[in-house]
């Protein structure tokens, strides 16, 4: 066996790149994923814009201007589930065992799935904003605002993908992952300011909705898009995400290592 001499860091990056390439190629080779990436955001955008748009009062802004931030984050949250499904499938198929019997960086597989999530979500978000523009979305954000919006969406996606990796490692089957995702992500995204202002919600729900991270990030993006004051939402969003990432990355890595040495 010929093994070229390079530093550990070189191989850690090289191994991760190989596995990132693998997960990325799944986006285009797996028709289900491709459809999810392209059509889900279009469907949500059109449904909410035209089904609920007339019925929900959003004060000064039009409903479509209100809606885009919510759908952007909801799509990112659901998109992150792909990591959980991918990890769970790899566990069941024995691919994790195979990779674990290789002398490579142990979190490489997770890094691959998480990175693919980021790329998928950049594609979805772009499609969604374009569709939004077609149905009346008129943002007044400047270039700096858009950079900050991109940073918020990517940080959020990264955070949810790592949380999702944990879910994939803990769940017993792919079906369980789908079920868990549904149970966790639906309340998080709907009990938020994603689709309707929190002011109309009953008190208990409103307190939850106004203080959970999904709402902060949506409010931050919405304010940036529509040229409104962002208040504390931006830094609270980043604080939430960074805090969760600091916990989620090591947890996922340890679970991954442990999973196969049980």
């Amino acid at each position: 066996m010929e093994i070229k001499k390079h530093s550990t860091m070189y191989w850690a990056i090289s191994d991760s790149m190989v596995l990132i390439k693998r997960s990325l190629s799944h986006i285009f080779k797996n028709m289900d994923q491709l459809l999810g990436v392209a059509f889900q955001p279009i469907m949500f955008m059109l449904l909410f814009r035209y089904v609920f748009g007339g019925a929900i009062q959003t004060g000064g802004t039009t409903y479509v201007n209100f809606l885009v931030a919510g759908i952007l984050i909801q799509t990112a949250a659901f998109g992150a589930m792909t990591t959980a499904i991918g990890v769970s499938t790899d566990l069941q198929r024995g691919i994790v065992d195979r990779l674990k019997s290789l002398p490579i960086i142990s979190s490489g597989l997770l890094i691959g799935h998480v990175t693919a999530d980021l790329v998928r979500n950049i594609i979805s978000s772009t499609i969604m904003i374009l569709v939004g523009l077609l149905v009346g979305f008129r943002p007044i954000a400047g270039f700096d605002d858009w950079l900050l919006i991109a940073a918020l969406v990517l940080t959020f996606t990264l955070t949810f993908s790592w949380l999702s990796a944990i879910m994939g490692l803990l769940a017993k089957s792919v079906e369980a992952v789908q079920w868990l995702g549904f149970v966790i992500i639906f309340p998080l995204t709907f009990a938020s300011a994603a689709f309707a202002p929190t002011a109309s919600m009953p008190k208990g729900l409103r307190i939850f909705a106004e203080n959970q991270p999904v709402t902060h990030i949506i409010e931050a993006i919405r304010a940036l898009m529509n040229g409104l004051p962002v208040g504390n939402h931006v830094w609270i969003s980043f604080a939430w995400c960074l805090g969760l990432l600091i916990i989620a990355i090591p947890t996922a890595t340890i679970l991954f290592r442990r999973h196969t040495s049980k």
């Binding site: 799944h26 674990k100 019997s101 040495s261």
Partner: protein, 321 residues
């Protein structure tokens, strides 16, 4: 110590309250094939998972290619190829992409990974399917790709965990040819199987494992000698005669099949011994349909060693509870 490719001393492993391995001792010499033979649940897969560093042993001294599986796990990983019971291939990637990816993860470098992929596609009869996604492959093709993936880095030691379980006869034969050619090229192979014929055909030495211990070890011929040189198989015309014969025949490792009304028993293969049995039959007025002498199979060995047939293991354990 270094001339043994695999050395296992007093290996134990429990899952919660269930002790799966109760002190396994095994040595595999370099360039040989050891067949680890046993029914479902005997501990074969657990042993392979420990040898390939996927599981931690509870106790024992285990070395693979001279490296300790616990303290030198990375060195062990560089020395082995593992093919598990399920084909661990990436469904969406083609056969070629799977192989190249594995080459890169073994740090062969880009060009060498591609070249190695071509070699393996050729060797494993996958050239025509090389660019199709693996999810379109048949069971046999997947299993071959899986084996090819474990051989990308030409490891000196190969673990094959039930490589032909669930394959159709044609794919099984092809897999056997591949294992034989690996053996010729000098690899050390540890092969687990529930198929007695498979161990007989591929392995230099066979270790029979049952309920977490090695109950016999030797060449196929040595094991067969333990149940007599030849087996005498007698079939009867009527069920009455069959039942009566069963009650009067004495001997070692008697097997009977009620549906086919046959009884088989161990003999030294001499004329005198066969005649003795036939005399008993005649004296009792039993009507023999056919009679034949054959070399013992590993099925016979298993029955002799464990008191139950390999395939009946599951039923037996249910009965015990």
């Amino acid at each position: 110590m270094h001339d043994a490719a695999i050395s296992i001393k007093n290996l134990t492993k429990s899952f919660k309250d269930l002790q799966v391995l109760k002190g396994i001792d095994l040595t595999v010499a370099r360039g040989t094939v050891l067949g680890l033979l046993g029914p479902n649940g005997a501990g074969k897969t657990t042993t392979v998972r420990i040898l390939s560093t996927l599981l931690q042993p509870d106790g024992g001294e285990i070395s693979v290619n001279g490296y300790n599986v616990v303290t030198q796990a990375d060195d062990v990983r560089h020395s082995i190829g593992l093919t598990g019971q399920y084909a661990a291939v990436d469904e969406y990637l083609s056969g070629r992409e799977n192989l190249i990816m594995m080459g890169r993860l073994y740090h062969l470098g880009g060009e060498a990974s591609k070249a190695r992929a071509e070699e393996l596609l050729e060797q494993f009869d996958l050239v025509q399917a090389a660019d199709r996604p693996a999810k379109t492959y048949s069971g046999g093709m997947r299993r071959r790709l899986d084996l090819a993936l474990s051989l990308v880095a030409t490891p000196p030691i190969i673990f094959l965990d039930e490589p032909t379980t669930g394959l159709d006869p044609r794919s099984r034969l092809l897999m056997w040819d591949i294992v034989s050619s690996l053996k010729k090229s000098g690899s050390t192979i540890l092969l687990t199987t529930q198929y007695l014929e498979e161990a007989d055909r591929l392995a230099d030495r066979i270790a029979v494992i049952d309920r977490g211990i090695v109950i016999a070890e030797g060449t196929a011929d040595e094991l067969k000698d333990r149940v007599g040189k030849e087996r005498l198989e007698i079939s009867f015309n009527t069920e009455n005669d069959f039942i009566k014969a069963l009650s009067i025949i004495e001997g070692e490792a008697i097997q009977s099949n009620k549906e086919e009304k046959t009884i088989s028993l161990a003999t030294g293969g001499t004329v005198a011994e066969v005649k003795r049995v036939l005399d008993i039959m005649e004296a009792s007025g039993l009507d023999i349909d056919t009679l034949n002498l054959h070399k013992p199979t590993l099925d016979d060995v298993f029955l002799k060693l464990t008191g139950h047939q390999a395939e009946e293991k599951l039923d037996e354990s249910v009965k015990e509870k």
